[in-house]
Symmetry: C2
Subunit: 272 residues, 2 copies
């Protein structure tokens, strides 16, 4: 349903106003997705009610006049009652408080939080799980979800210290992956390890001080890879008790980005 907007203060697009500020305050379960690639991915995962398999719901779009034609195929395939607001670029810039380069915004409603146990119960006989602790950087969170989607991970577990995968920047960096890969939160690393053990899923913890190398590790059918922050890494009690894997690096430069590390690890564990 195309809705032309010519007034930045039009109440029908109030949810889009001042996107940047909205990111910083409570977002009441809403998410904002940007750009054509993400919108195409999201649209391809919607059922007739505008919901993804994860239960996220697309509420409306806001696109610039220049983009509406390019997106005609997506717009035509959306549920007919879904509002597609079309505005001139200048109105659009004023609506969202800063220029949106690609002129495409999607507003959605995130599904309520899901229990980790519920998602773990759904894993099949072969499963690949990503577990992260203390990932507070949205670039890294987005990168981890992008890699999780690329290598077919079934589930991402987060501790409470990690940031929100549905924050606008994390969605953008993930190229939409954080909207399609299931995730759930547990309190901390100990809770994640206990839940994974209860779900008969082997945990390997990545650490520069790991006792085995990644490339020497043959993954079992159900495996979870646990990643900590780049600086402090995983807690000592975890590294003391978990099976630990290292990625050997050149002397004097023992440093990989955590999202890159997740890509290297998931590539190996996926066995592709």
């Amino acid at each position: 349903m195309i809705v032309s907007i010519s007034d930045p203060d039009d109440p029908r697009i109030s949810a889009y106003r001042d996107v940047r500020e909205r990111d910083l305050v409570g977002r009441q379960g809403r998410f904002m997705a940007e750009g054509e690639v993400v919108l195409r991915l999201l649209a391809s995962h919607l059922n007739a009610h505008g919901r993804t398999a994860q239960g996220h719901r697309l509420l409306s779009l806001l696109v610039s006049e220049g983009q509406a034609d390019r997106l005609a195929d997506i717009i035509g395939a959306l549920p007919p009652q879904l509002p597609v607001h079309v505005a001139g670029q200048q109105v659009m810039d004023r609506i969202v408080g800063f220029p949106i380069h690609r002129g495409i915004l999607a507003l959605g409603e995130a599904r309520p939080a899901v229990e980790a146990g519920t998602l773990l119960d759904r894993l099949g006989p072969r499963a690949l799980v990503v577990a992260v602790a203390g990932i507070t950087n949205h670039d890294n969170m987005g990168g981890i979800f992008r890699n999780a989607a690329a290598f077919g991970a079934d589930l991402v577990l987060l501790d409470h210290a990690s940031c929100d995968p549905l924050y606008r920047k994390a969605i953008r960096v993930s190229v939409g992956a954080s909207l399609i890969v299931p995730f759930a939160r547990l309190a901390d690393v100990s809770a994640m390890m206990a839940a994974l053990e209860a779900a008969q899923t082997s945990v390997v913890a990545l650490s520069p001080s790991g006792r085995e190398t990644l490339s020497s590790f043959t993954p079992p059918p159900r495996v979870a890879a646990l990643f900590g922050t780049e600086g402090p890494g995983l807690p000592a009690h975890v590294l003391a008790t978990a099976r630990t894997l290292a990625i050997p690096m050149a002397p004097g430069f023992d440093s990989l980005n955590v999202a890159t590390t997740s890509g290297i690890v998931l590539h190996h564990l996926a066995g592709v």
Copy 2:
């Protein structure tokens, strides 16, 4: 040599003023490195004349009063005539035009450009080369250098369309790696492939449409991995003639970041 600075207009620190603008205009062969980790790496690679093995030269430091004590070990080991400017945080913020979070800046002089052939001639019987084309994003460039350093790559080749690895943000994202990994430019992919062939180094081109998978590829002793941009990828004539490798991904999400891809590929080629 500690130099206390209390006036943002002090001519002795004119090179640090308005760092952001300087990044955008010609930088006359200068580079700017930020933060303790990068400074420690750079300092550990300096000879008695303040030069790295690549020929980059450290000209001076600018550190906030709060950081000078923490960096005493580095400062003490620098060539004694090298100026270390110490300023209060407020003066520092005014000097550089925006807040430098960690209060540490290093100004250097980049070595003159080196011929790719000169660096290729120095490769040993085992060598790992990274070649990139059309990488215009400094985050990606920094990430590629970080991975090159982590996996002991001997050399990075860039085409003329790629951005400067010594741009401030690229140095920061590389965690200093772009200051220590040798690199050289050639005009384009064809020139890189010709130079690598002349140097008896096998080239593999990464592409989602690659004819072999990365994991099935056994690297020869001297190997170069060629990466294009995320969107358009490498030119068709290159993919038609080169040996091509793919990283298989999940259906419906055929997307990896190019820096992450370089990490996965270098991890495999390094054989660690």
